[in-house]
Amino acid sequence: MQFDFATVLVFLLVGAGFVFIALFVGRFLRPDLPDPQKASVYECGERAIGSGWFNFNPRFYLMALVFIVFDVEVALTFPVAVVVRDWIESGRALVAVAEIALFLLVLAAALAYVWGKGHLDWIRDIEGPEGEE
């Protein structure tokens, strides 16, 4: 087991090392001629207006929140999913299936809630201060 995870570490280091070596060796071969024109960001040939770091659409933010719930759910359910076959074969099928199904249905309810709230829609009405649409 330690050996397996040591291999993972070695792979990640070799992957990063490959990138580093390619970039480091390339440094001696590629030109380096800085120029203010080249250093400007691309905005369709126009001079860039303002910074690129601005407030952007929070839709992505809600997606990310929903994602986290589901991803945690995946991480929690995978280990349970492994033993389901054993449980079914040893005659505890109902418990195993009920456990997973219950867990999934709670998540499904959450998805239905988010869906019903309209958070999965791209175009949304802006809610007024009283919650009116």
């Binding site: 993972v8 792979f11 590629r30 080249k38 770091w53 389901v84």
Partner: protein, 423 residues
């Protein structure tokens, strides 16, 4: 048993005549063997990702009735090498006002996240760097490093296009991770293990033993996984992050030279990862028809090498077929819009994958393995799957013939090149 460890043990007994479990310097040899395995994997990634870009461009040319790269080497096969050298010699630009540190380290995350998945991908009966017992979960986890890299690249560029592209990428990748993870969960339920080799071992060499034909919900899960994986790989029809026509290039718009190449590298290598995971989970992996893995493990010497090589060829053939299908899809299907992309995921794929899990669970309880119902289901699925493959091939043939007829009418002469070759 870990194959790298096993090889290192044998090497130590043979070269130094020591017992590896008690020898204090054994870790040096282990480390050397791991490094060799990792370097072989890097070589594989490079030799896959490079040529597949050439294949992709040739297929694109074929589909769009144009030629594609055909100058560097015979039929242009060395185009990828020329591209690589060119990118290698290009100046490495960092835009003014960018976050230089994040900008520079983003490719490491993208490449590292992609490359980490190669640890657990089994290429043959024993050809795997480390068969982690959490294999599938590990693949999902380590590939999400890519999201971090893309977001970093998009943010650090200090460019509006790059920021939009990066945020879109992140939203898309994380969203589609859910259906793909759920689709893989059906496999875990069915196989009772997360280890990649374990999943392959639970299947058989013949198509009726593959998971995709074992259960109608696994059949559906295969397509769910495939769709979600295409989206995770930023491929058309889901390539919004780099929608050239609207976002110019997405997160990598400010990158140049080698740093840019590593993003592309990861994207094409990801093709192999998604195809390999689909092959392992649904299409029987490296299983040789009629030969059990136990038999391969039992033989010695030349026969062992032969069986391993055959299993690798079988695996590579299945995965390459999927790669070619993804490449063809890219040039066949138009791009979705961003809102369609999101609701395809959350309103169709996620509920469907929920249904798949519940369906697999129900069938596992109700249908006995090897019973009449099980065999009937398998037979029906096999026939249906066969029809899908035949229909796919027939449609490709039909468009080719239509294309050929049009060319012959326009040029007034016989079409002289076979479908795989262009002037």
């Amino acid at each position: 048993m870990n194959v790298v460890q096993h090889a290192a043990d044998r090497f130590m007994r043979w070269a130094f005549s020591v017992d590896p479990s008690t020898w204090p310097h054994a870790w040096v040899v282990y480390l050397a063997f791991m490094l060799v395995a990792a370097v072989v994997a890097v070589g594989f990634v490079a030799l896959f990702a490079g040529p597949v870009t050439w294949i992709e461009r040739r297929v694109a040319g074929r589909i769009m009735s144009r030629i594609g790269p055909n100058r560097v080497g015979p039929q242009g096969v060395l185009q990828w090498l020329a591209d690589g050298i060119k990118c290698f010699l290009k100046e490495d630009l960092v835009p003014e006002g960018a976050d230089r540190t994040l900008f520079r380290i983003a490719p490491y995350f993208v490449f590292g996240g992609m490359f980490g998945a190669f640890v657990v991908l089994p290429f043959g009966v024993h050809l795997v760097a480390a068969d982690l017992n959490v294999g599938l979960l590990y693949v999902l986890a380590v590939t999400s490093l890519v999201v971090v890299g893309l977001l970093m690249a998009g943010w650090a560029s200090n460019s509006k296009w790059a920021l939009f592209g990066g945020v879109r990428s992140a939203a898309q990748l994380v969203s589609y991770e859910i259906p793909s993870a759920f689709a893989l969960m059906t496999v875990i339920l069915f196989a009772g293990t997360m280890s990649m080799q374990g999943v392959v071992a639970a299947q058989g060499g013949f198509p009726w033993d593959w998971f995709v034909f074992r259960n109608p919900f696994l059949f559906a899960a295969f397509f769910l996984y495939f769709t979600a994986a295409i989206a995770e790989g930023n491929r058309t029809p889901f390539d919004l992050p780099e929608a050239e026509s609207e976002l110019v290039a997405g997160y990598n718009v400010e990158y140049s030279g080698m740093r840019y190449l590593f993003f592309m590298f990861a994207e094409w290598a990801n093709l192999w990862i998604m195809s390999a995971v689909a092959t392992v989970c649904f299409l029987g992996g490296w299983q040789i028809p009629g030969v059990s893995p136990a038999h391969v493990a039992a033989v010695e010497g030349f026969a062992f090498v032969g069986w391993e090589a055959l299993s690798f060829v079988i695996f590579a053939a299945k995965a390459s077929t999927l790669v070619i299908i993804v490449v063809q899809l890219r040039w066949t299907v138009p791009r979705l819009r961003i809102d369609q992309l999101m609701f395809t995921c959350w309103k169709y794929l996620v509920p469907l994958s929920f249904a798949c899990i519940l369906g697999v669970l129900a069938l596992m309880v109700v249908v006995r393995d090897g019973g009449t119902v099980d065999l009937a289901l398998r037979a029906a699925l096999l026939i249906f799957g066969f029809w899908v493959v035949v229909e796919y091939a027939r449609r490709i043939r039909r468009t080719y013939l239509a294309d050929k007829a049009l060319y012959e009418r326009m040029e007034g002469k016989k079409l002289w090149y076979p479908p795989y070759r262009m002037p």
